[in-house]
Symmetry: C2
Subunit: 182 residues, 2 copies
DNA sequence: TAAGATAGTAACTGTTTACTATCTTTACTG
DNA sequence: CAGTAAAGATAGTAAACAGTTACTATCTTA
């Protein structure tokens, strides 16, 4: 089934580490994930992690990068080839929801990271992700206005913020119970 | 100006402690607030806190109770005497926003607490607060349907979830920048 | 105004945390 | 197939944490 080998090449070990964190974040508070817990979850001793990452902060940074890359490419793919801006936004919304269902740890990591006071590298990556997301939404809204699908007097910036805010809020709501509501 | 007396009656000291936590939560990640930080912020030694609370968890529980009481009474007051359900909901929304602006630490405590995995008393209080909030919203929506102000085919539960989710999302968004957007 | 009760201090405890130093095992290469 | 470099195990460290303890200062009231 799984490779019986205990020794992994460095890049694979890093990938496994990232996945372990994302998985753990699905069931426990990200700020309570310790390096010991990560190591245990991937059947390795705690000290071994520091062969591949210089610090815990570096692990979190790698996780945020993984999340940003996967989420953005996922919504880009979903919207690809859909002419109607409104339909495209709907597709982006749905693929976002799918992604979150697959990886419940992702929004939890995001929320947790964005709450941090200090401007850590990981937090900056989370903010960048949201900005890039907002850009994509704004572009669709503008396209919708140009094509007459969206009223021209809509404040693009505010509407994009509302779009993202609503997703975040609904995701947060769904995290507090079951999650069939849509 | 302030009382020079260092000795406060127990109930006042508890109140001061709660305020200290809410204030601290406005500028640092709630999960990083230590008992030492709380004590320092209120000019008392760390050990003194445990004269008034049996544990840190008890402090958080008291803070959540304070928040729930203040927020619910605030929105009840705002909606009082407004006949139109839609107008009442708008008033509730605005007073909620006002409350959050006054106490930025409140939503951060809520988000932080709701992310916890364990079913701590404080988390349960946060969930109860949201439930009681949702009840109030649902009642207004039903009233709106009865009065013809809201379409009868609207799913009350889903709409209430959307209302709260949107507020939460927008609050979260505003926490990540300035906050003039409305 | 003295006695008891209440509130606060300072120093300490055991545990947990991220991170490190040293030794051992595995897997690749000439 | 021997030698070696990468990967992991073991066993630490210092700092930070919640909570405790022995003592002291301040209020209250009879």
């Amino acid at each position: 089934m799984d490779s019986p080998s205990k020794h992994l090449p460095a890049d694979e070990r890093r990938a496994v580490t990232i996945e372990a964190v994302v998985e753990l974040a699905g069931s426990i508070n990200p700020s309570e994930i310790t390096t010991a817990a990560i190591a245990k979850h991937m059947n390795v001793t705690q000290g071994a992690l520091f062969r591949h990452f210089p610090s815990k902060e570096a692990i979190w940074q790698a996780v945020m990068a993984w999340m940003a890359e996967r989420l953005l490419s996922r919504i880009d793919l979903a919207a690809q080839g859909i002419k109607s801006p409104l339909e495209a936004m709907r597709a982006m919304f749905m693929s976002h929801v799918e992604f979150v269902i697959e990886h419940p740890g992702v929004p939890r990591m995001m929320f947790g990271e964005l709450q941090r006071a200090e401007a850590s590298p990981a937090k900056r990556m989370a903010q960048t992700l949201i900005q890039r997301y907002a850009e994509r939404i704004r572009a669709r809204i503008e396209a919708g206005k140009a094509g007459g699908e969206i009223a021209a007097d809509v404040d693009t910036q505010a509407a994009a913020t509302l779009f993202i805010g609503t997703i975040q809020g609904l995701v947060m709501q769904s995290m507090l119970s079951g999650d069939i509501e849509r």
